[in-house]
Amino acid sequence: MLIVDDEPNVCFTLKLIFEQEGFEVTSAGSAAEGIEVLKARRKFDVVLTDLHMEKEDAGLELARRAKELSPPPVLIVLTGYASMHNVRAALDLHVDHFAVKPMELPELLESVRRLAGLRTDARSAGS
C-alpha cells in the first residue's frame, strides 16, 4: 500500500493502522514524491492519497498516474476540501473510493478490505 499525505501525523497514523491490517506500507509526503515512487515501478495493491498537498488537487495527478499502472491499484482519495471539481475529476478517473476528512477510520478500513478483496476476486475470475 502507498499512502500519500503531506500531513506527517496523518501518514503515520494511517501507516500504523494498515500495517496492523497486514499491508506493507510505503508512505510519501507529497504528490510528486508519490509519483516518483510509482515511477520506480513498485507494485501496489492499494494507493491512498490526499488531494490537496503541495498544490491544490495535486493528488489528482497522482491518481491519474496510478490508474496508468497495469494492473491499476485500488485507488482511494481522502480530502478535507471536496469540491464539485475535484469529486467530478475523481469520478472521471474511476477512483474506487472518495472520503471526506475527517473520515471514520472503521469505515475507511472496511472500504479498503472490501475493495482489495473485490480486486483479488476479480483477478482470480479473469485468470
Binding site: 494492473p71 491499476p72 485500488v74 467530478r88 475523481a90 469520478l91 472521471d92 474511476h94 476479480a122
Partner: protein, 138 residues
C-alpha cells in the same frame, strides 16, 4: 469502479433498470443495434433475478428505480457481482454528495435524466467503447 483491468465478456449482456417503460423501449433497440443483448427490468426484484441468471458487461440504471433513490444500492451490488462491468447511472444534475456516492457505489459514470434516452445511450456506448479500448473517459 474497482481498479481492475477491463476484461470484456464474450456475451455482451446489458442490464437496463428503469421504472419508465418508454425509456426502456427507447434504449432496447439502440443497445441491440450495437451488439448487446438487452435485458430489461422495471423494478429491483426483476433486476436481481436477471443478475442471478446472467453476467453483465454493461448496466444502465435509473437512480430512482422506485420513488426512493434505490439505484445506488443496486449499483453497489452490481459492482460486487460484476467487477468488470460498466455501470451507467441516469440521475438528476449531480451535487457533490451525489458524485461522491457514485464513486463509492462503483458507478462508472453519471448521465443526466433530463437528456433524451437516445442521447444518453450514445454517450454511454461511446464511453463504454473508450473504456473497453483502454482509454480514459473525458
Amino acid at each position: 469502479m474497482p481498479s481492475v483491468e477491463y476484461i470484456p465478456l464474450k456475451s455482451k449482456n446489458a442490464l437496463v433498470v428503469h421504472s419508465d417503460l418508454a425509456i426502456l423501449s427507447a434504449l432496447q433497440p439502440i443497445l441491440s443495434q450495437r451488439g448487446f443483448i438487452p435485458i430489461l427490468a422495471r423494478d429491483l426484484p426483476t433486476a436481481l433475478l436477471a443478475m442471478a441468471q446472467h453476467r453483465f458487461e454493461l448496466c444502465i440504471l435509473s437512480m430512482a428505480i422506485t420513488e426512493k433513490s434505490d439505484g445506488w444500492a443496486l449499483a453497489a451490488v452490481l459492482r460486487m457481482c460484476f467487477p468488470h462491468a460498466f455501470v451507467a447511472m441516469i440521475a438528476p444534475e449531480p451535487d457533490l454528495l451525489m458524485l461522491q456516492t457514485a464513486i463509492n457505489t462503483g458507478v462508472t459514470q453519471l448521465y443526466l435524466a433530463s437528456d433524451p434516452p437516445a442521447v444518453n445511450a450514445e454517450a454511454i456506448l461511446r464511453d463504454y467503447s473508450r473504456l473497453a479500448a483502454g482509454h480514459k473517459l473525458q
